[in-house]
Structures are given as C-alpha cells and as structure tokens.
C-alpha cells in the first residue's frame, strides 16, 4: 500500500505531524532492529566458528561439549513434523468452523475462542507436564518424539487457529455469495477458493507456530526427552535442539560454544523454513491473481 505516498501534505502542521510519526516509526524500528542485530552478532561472535558441515553431521560427544548435533537436528525435525501434521489439519478445520459456521458474537464461537485464548496462555511447562501425564504415561507413548510432537501440537494449535481464522474472515463475502447462488456446496468453495485465498494467513500462522515449537524447551524435556541418540522411530526418545541448548548452557560446564553454535543452526533452520513458506505463499498468490 505504498500508493499512500502520494498523499498530499497540505498544511505545515500536518506535514510536521507526518514527519514525527515517520520519525517515531523509524526510531522504533531502529531500536528493535538494533536489539535483534546485537543478539544475532552476540550469537555469531560466540558460535559461528563452530558451525560447519561436520558439526551438522556428527553426533554429540562428551555431553555435547564437542562433536556435532546431527541426531538432535533429526529429532527436532521429526518432532516438528509430528506437531505440524497434527496441528495443521486440526487447526485449519477449527478455524473454518469458527469463521464459516459460527458468528463472531455467537455462543459457540465465543466459547471455543475463549478456550483457545486460554490455551495460548497456559505456561509451556504446564503443557509439558500435561503432555507427560497424558501422552507419555496415559496413552503409553513413553518419552518419545511422538509424545513431544503431540504436546507441541497442543501449544501451537491456538496460534494456528487464530491466524487462520482471521485470514478466512478477511476473504470477501462476494465469493461465498456467488458460490451459494450457483448452488455449490460449502465444501467445494472452501477447498477451491476460501482456503487457497487464506493460505498466506495460514502460512503466517504456521510460521509463528513453527518458531514457537522449535524454541520450546520446557514442554519437551518432559515429553520427547533427553536422549541424544539418532532416533530410529517416532516412538524413540529424542532431544530437541532447544533442550540441547538449555542443557549446554545451564547444566554442562564448557558447553557454551556449542550452545551458541546450535542456536545459530536453529536460526538458520528457521530462515530456511520461513523462506520456503513465503515462496509457497507467493506462488499460490501469483498463480491466482497474476497481472491483476
């Protein structure tokens, strides 16, 4: 919406206010970017030297002080896969129900919405303890990647539902009306029109969720566990990268260097996943409305 640049600044007073708002925006951005870069450089300073191909492809040695993080990367990705495979369909379906079948002021919508807001605020460590009691013990999954992924799914579900729902609500009603006027089923219009149009919002939610899932420590210690062996199945225990980082910084003397390096790998992983997601969303969008 950069067209708004063309706005005419008629009075000097308005011009001055324009300028101050602009300055405020730049100032805020500078603070945030500054903090972020500071953090990033701190990580690079401490960890960049350690990150190389060997680090990514070997197993940890001496409790992670030396060696690489291959099994930890594998476990992390598997946990992430389970979490998304479970949360994405469930979240999408719930979001569709909320946006297409319930009114915003309706009772049902309010109830589900409220419970989701609360679910979003339950401390991750409590979710972790719940996951341990429910998935690991009650369902008998034990300390496993599956249990960890399911627990994470509980955590990212609210974020996913909320963003997808708002994306769906922003799709103009015209398409719903015309589909209805053509006597088409809601399923068709959902699958072929609404969901693709809301895909960018869905992907944005997914990205937020993935970010949060990858960063999660507390919940995973109790569910996917501490074992740093290369996982052979979804029922194996596997140490997630953030658990590894926590252990290295807080529990293993001399583990800081590898902790910083692991954090860098984690950030790189996020950049890659985010890049793929953005590319997918862009492609989906341009294919539908190119040249419009």
């Amino acid at each position: 919406m950069r067209e708004s640049r063309a706005f005419d600044l008629s009075s000097p007073r308005a011009a001055w206010r324009d300028l101050s708002l602009q300055a405020a925006a730049w100032f805020a951005a500078a603070i945030v970017a500054g903090m972020f870069l500071w953090l990033l450089f701190d990580l690079l300073w401490h960890g960049a030297a350690r990150v190389d191909w060997t680090f990514l492809t070997t197993t940890p040695k001496s409790s992670g002080r030396s060696g690489g993080i291959a099994p930890i990367l594998a476990s992390t990705l598997l946990i992430l896969f389970v979490a998304i495979a479970v949360a994405a369909p469930l979240g999408l379906a719930t979001a569709v129900l909320l946006s297409e079948y319930t009114r915003r002021e309706g009772r049902l919508g309010q109830m589900i919405g409220l419970s989701l807001d609360v679910l979003a605020g339950v401390p991750s460590i409590v979710v972790g303890l719940f996951g341990n009691a429910f998935f690991c013990v009650w369902l008998g999954l034990g300390f496993s990647i599956l249990a960890g992924g399911l627990t994470l799914a509980c955590m990212i579900l609210p974020i996913l539902i909320r963003t997808t729902e708002s994306g769906l609500r922003q799709v103009p009603d015209e398409w719903r009306l015309s589909a209805e006027a053509l006597g088409m089923s809601r399923a068709t219009i959902l699958i072929h029109v609404l969901i693709p149009v809301a895909a960018p919002a869905l992907i944005a939610g997914l990205m937020l969720g993935i970010g949060r899932a990858m960063a999660e420590t507390a919940a995973l210690v109790f569910t996917s566990g501490y074992v740093d062996r290369m996982p052979a199945s979804f029922l194996d225990s596997g140490r997630a990268i953030s658990v590894h980082i926590y252990d290295l910084t807080m529990n293993v003397a001399g583990g800081d260097k590898n902790a910083y390096a692991s954090a860098l790998v984690l950030i790189a992983l996020l950049i890659i996943i985010n890049g793929i997601a953005v590319a997918l969303a862009d492609r989906a969008l341009t294919r539908r409305v190119s040249a419009a």
């Binding site: 501490y226 062996r229 199945s233 979804f234």
Partner: protein, 270 residues
C-alpha cells in the same frame, strides 16, 4: 491437499510403529539433571560394548528419579545426593562424588571466609563486603531454589533453614550459578566444585573459596577432606539383576573414570 496431509500423518504413524518392533533390551534411567550428562555418556559406552542394550536417560530432578525408580517407571533413578532415611527401602549405589564450593567473582578481594561469616552473609546479617575485609559494596547472595539437593546439602552443613536465607538471586542449575556470579562482582554463591574449577581455568570470572582452610579442589574431595561433598547415586527399587546389574557395575568400574572426570566429578574408588 487435506487428504494428502491426512495420508502423511497415517503413513508417519505406521512408519513409527513398524520400526519399534526391533526393540532391544531397554534400560530407562531418569532423575537428577546433574547426574544425567554423566550417565548418558556412560550409557553410550555401555551400548557400544553391549549392542543389544539400549539406555535411555531422561532428566527431571533427584526426587523424580527416586519416585520413578520406586514406581517402576524407570529401571534406575538418578539422585545427586545420598538416600534419605525415608528412602532406605530403595537400593542406592554411588557412582561418583561431587563437592559443593563457595564461589565469588574473581574481582572480589576477599580470599577466605569463616563458616560464621558465610552463615551471616546468607542470613543477611552481613550485607556489605567491607564487613568481611573486601571492597565496600552490597553483597549479592546467590542461592539455590527450594528442593535442590545442592541447597539441602548446603543447609545441612551450615545448620540453616531455607526460610531464613536472605537471597538476592535464586538460581536453578549449576551453570546458571556460575554465570550469575561471573557477571556480578559482588556476588557470592555455591556450586559444584569440579565445574567451578574448570570454568575458573577457562578464564570465567569466578573463584572458589577454601572451607575451614581446606581448599576446594577435586583432590580434596577425592581424599575426603573437603567437608561439603555428596555422592551421585544410582537408585533401584530392589537389588539389581541382569542388565541393570551389569550397567550399575559398569558405571562404578574404572572403565568409566575418564568419563567421570570429563564431567568434572570425582570417581569413587572401590
């Protein structure tokens, strides 16, 4: 698109299920986060020598280890202390020793403190370093969180009650203590001796204080002269047998002494 997702999920689960069929003999060990890195390393070496055994180590604290061992959730529990009287129904085996030492920031001029001075500092009766011969500055007392074995040991040694301590910072794990003291020139705390020695050697800004004139070194823990020491214990419900027995024996043997030292603990000599 949805159907594809559903299929992937199902496929993934099936994949997971099918691969668990090859389960070897598995030992589950849970408990103290202090002991966990050591036992995990010992486990790896044990697995190398016994390819049909798998050892899964999980953390969660000493109490957890003891509970899990008692309830049977774990084959072995890990505790960073000796068994309490009410836990004597269990079987405990020490695999290493760890000392607790008082640390100060390296910039602190104070060289030694008497037991009474330490007690007064932790009780908040002495609040400035000038009172114990240091450069004037408010003392930052770094204490461990309630329930931690290190805290219990410290309290027992100095005959203190948890609620009497006036702390400015409360920490969880060992390294947090070291990092906190290293970042604050006026801090005092207590951590595992081995790791503090290692960190000080690495140039981290901490130093260990002598206790009752006995320097806090790994050596003095080994020979038993350092007063604040604790055993790292493997706990089983009954007298261990089979693979569990083999593992506990292995963990006590000289074959793992290098691993114990690598984790900055002190091997127990038979």
């Amino acid at each position: 698109m949805l159907r594809l997702l559903a299929l992937t999920v199902c496929g993934g689960f099936l994949f997971g299920m099918s691969l668990t069929a090859n389960a070897a003999e598995k030992i589950v060990i849970t408990g103290s986060s202090t002991v966990a890195p050591l036992v995990a390393e010992i486990g790896k070496r044990f697995e190398e020598q016994n390819p049909d055994v798998r050892i899964d180590v999980q953390t969660g604290g000493s109490s957890r280890g003891i509970n899990d061992a008692r309830s049977g959730l774990a084959n072995i529990g890990m505790a960073s202390r000796s068994l309490k009287d009410e836990e004597k129904d269990l079987k405990g085996t020490a695999i290493a020793r760890d000392g607790i030492g008082i640390i100060l920031n390296a910039a602190n001029m104070v060289r030694s403190l008497t037991d009474q001075q330490i007690v007064d500092i932790f009780l908040g009766k002495i609040t400035d370093w000038s009172a114990v011969g240091g450069k004037a500055g408010p003392i930052t007392v770094v204490n461990k969180a309630d329930g931690r074995s290190t805290l219990e040991l410290f309290l027992n040694h100095f005959k203190l009650k948890a609620s009497d301590i006036k702390a400015q910072v409360i920490i969880g794990d060992n390294q947090q203590g070291i990092k906190t003291v290293a970042g604050n020139p006026n801090a005092i705390g207590y951590v595992s001796v081995g790791t503090a020695e290692f960190e000080a050697g690495q140039g981290t800004s901490v130093k260990l204080l002598s206790m009752n004139g006995i320097p806090a070194t790994v050596e003095n823990i080994q020979n038993g002269s350092f007063p604040l020491a604790r055993p790292l214990t493997l706990v089983t419900k009954d007298e261990p047998s089979g693979v569990v027995r083999a593992f506990i024996d292995f963990a006590q043997s000289a074959a793992v002494h290098d691993l114990v030292k690598e984790q900055f603990f002190v091997p127990v000599l038979p």
